[in-house]
């Protein structure tokens, strides 16, 4: 097995663990924790594969979130849970929390930057926050698309 697949499997395993952990934190019903884990694993595997194909973070996150949201929508008739809990929890590991913190940290550093360092700090901060905004927009849009195209029917 080459390093590409090892990396994908690694990301999928830890994406699944992160999703399941957040599922417990969000008080997910126990019967869907495994689905959440699968959803997170699938999302991270697809995102990693897309990034390996030279797509950037927002693009990769978009395709990964779209895949889990579509899968959930297709499997909806076989589930008891309405709404998009599984896709939502599965997408949580893709929320770029660290990049957000890094972007804000860069802005704080801007306050203490020596002459000549300001531009680098400002550019880094802007780039991080732009990446965060685009990634979040991509995930949110991708999660909404299946529901908008094929809305759920109210239970009779």
């Amino acid at each position: 097995m080459n390093s590409f697949w090892i990396h994908i499997i690694h990301q999928a395993i830890f994406g699944g663990i992160a999703s399941a952990g957040f599922g417990i934190l969000f008080n997910c019903p126990p019967r869907i924790i495994l689905y959440c884990m699968g959803s997170g694993a699938m999302a991270l595997a697809i995102r990693t594969a897309c990034q390996s194909a030279n797509l950037n973070l927002p693009e990769s996150s978009f395709f990964a979130a779209l895949a889990v949201a579509t899968a959930e929508r297709v499997l909806q008739p076989f589930q008891q849970t309405r709404g998009s809990i599984i896709a939502l929890v599965g997408s949580i590991p893709m929320v770029p929390g660290r990049t957000t913190a890094k972007g804000l940290t860069n802005f704080f550093e801007l306050l203490q930057a020596r002459p000549g360092e300001e531009i680098a700090a400002a550019t880094n901060g802007m780039r991080n926050l732009l990446e965060v905004i685009l990634t979040l927009a991509a995930i949110g849009t991708a999660l909404a698309i299946p529901q908008l195209i094929y809305p759920e029917k109210q239970a009779e």
Binding site: A20, G21, I24, L25, G83, I85, V95, A101, G140
Partner: protein
């Protein structure tokens, strides 16, 4: 003002109908459902759909729902009568089992399996009766999730356990402070500082070479992921006011999280 804190406004409030609950009662029930759904982390569209479906099944011709961050307004119409009610919304959080319980209750009311007063009583008790995981399990799983995040971000194995301990302790502190009704933003700052500090000290003692990633991973439990995704959904589905209010709150949470993280990093990373 009603006893449950739901102020009542409007005109020509519905008179009791022989076939079912009065319009006022339907509005009160709808508000209670909407309030709980919002407090449990639902998007505005789903709240609108749930309330509209319930109101239609209880005989209303139309149901308009206006969701704001701190309040919900419901306007119901049945024949010639109409009713407008507004209810306050409490602290927004995420409770997926709570969401499921409220949706299930709405479905039972719609299908006639539960009468209005029993449903209202059950709804009022929902926050207390919804089952949840033991605190130790939530803390452990939160720690595990943050450690997994650390691995995804490139932290080494030496930092895995310190991150787990730091974020599990942070989750325990967060819960303890929120139960005591401490300010959410102060709580976020404190939890961020403690989690990052514990993870940083632990990772340093363990000999990890990725201290910065370890410390950042330990505070990721504070990133309001569901709220962030709800903002996106609300914007896309034409609810910019609610999205803006949620967004401002998220920005402040992230700001306090970063302040806590920076303070801890100043202590741990100085001199490296």
């Amino acid at each position: 003002m009603r006893s449950n804190g739901i102020p009542e406004s409007g005109s020509r409030l519905g008179s009791p109908c022989a076939a079912g609950p009065s319009l006022s009662d339907v509005a009160r029930l709808s508000l209670s459902i909407g309030r709980l759904l919002m407090e449990f982390g639902e998007s505005a569209r789903m709240i609108n759909e749930e309330i509209a479906a319930l109101a239609h099944r209880l005989g209303c011709d139309s149901a308009e729902v206006y969701c704001q961050h701190a309040a919900i307004i419901v306007t119901l119409r049945r024949g010639e009568e109409f009713c407008v009610q507004m209810g306050k919304v409490g602290e927004h959080g995420v409770n997926l089992r709570g969401l499921e319980a409220v949706r299930d209750l709405a479905r039972r009311v719609s299908h006639g399996g539960l009468d209005y007063s029993a449903a209202q009583t059950e709804l009022d008790n929902t926050p207390g009766t919804t089952s949840s995981y033991p605190v130790w399990l939530v803390c452990l799983c939160t720690g595990l999730a943050c450690s997994a995040f650390g691995r995804l971000l490139g932290a080494d194995w030496l930092a895995f356990f310190p991150v787990l301990v730091g974020s599990a302790a942070g989750q325990w502190i967060r819960r303890a402070m929120l139960v005591r009704k401490k300010n959410l933003f102060i709580t976020t700052g404190v939890v961020s500082f403690v989690s990052a500090l514990l993870a940083g000290v632990g990772a340093r003692l363990a000999g990890s070479s990725r201290l910065e990633i370890a410390m950042a991973s330990a505070v990721l439990l504070l990133v309001p992921g569901v709220a962030v995704l709800n903002i996106q959904t609300d914007v896309i589905e034409g609810k910019p006011n609610l999205a803006a209010a949620r967004g401002l709150r998220v920005i402040y949470i992230l700001l306090f999280m970063t302040l806590g993280l920076i303070a801890a990093q100043r202590l741990i990373l100085q001199g490296i």
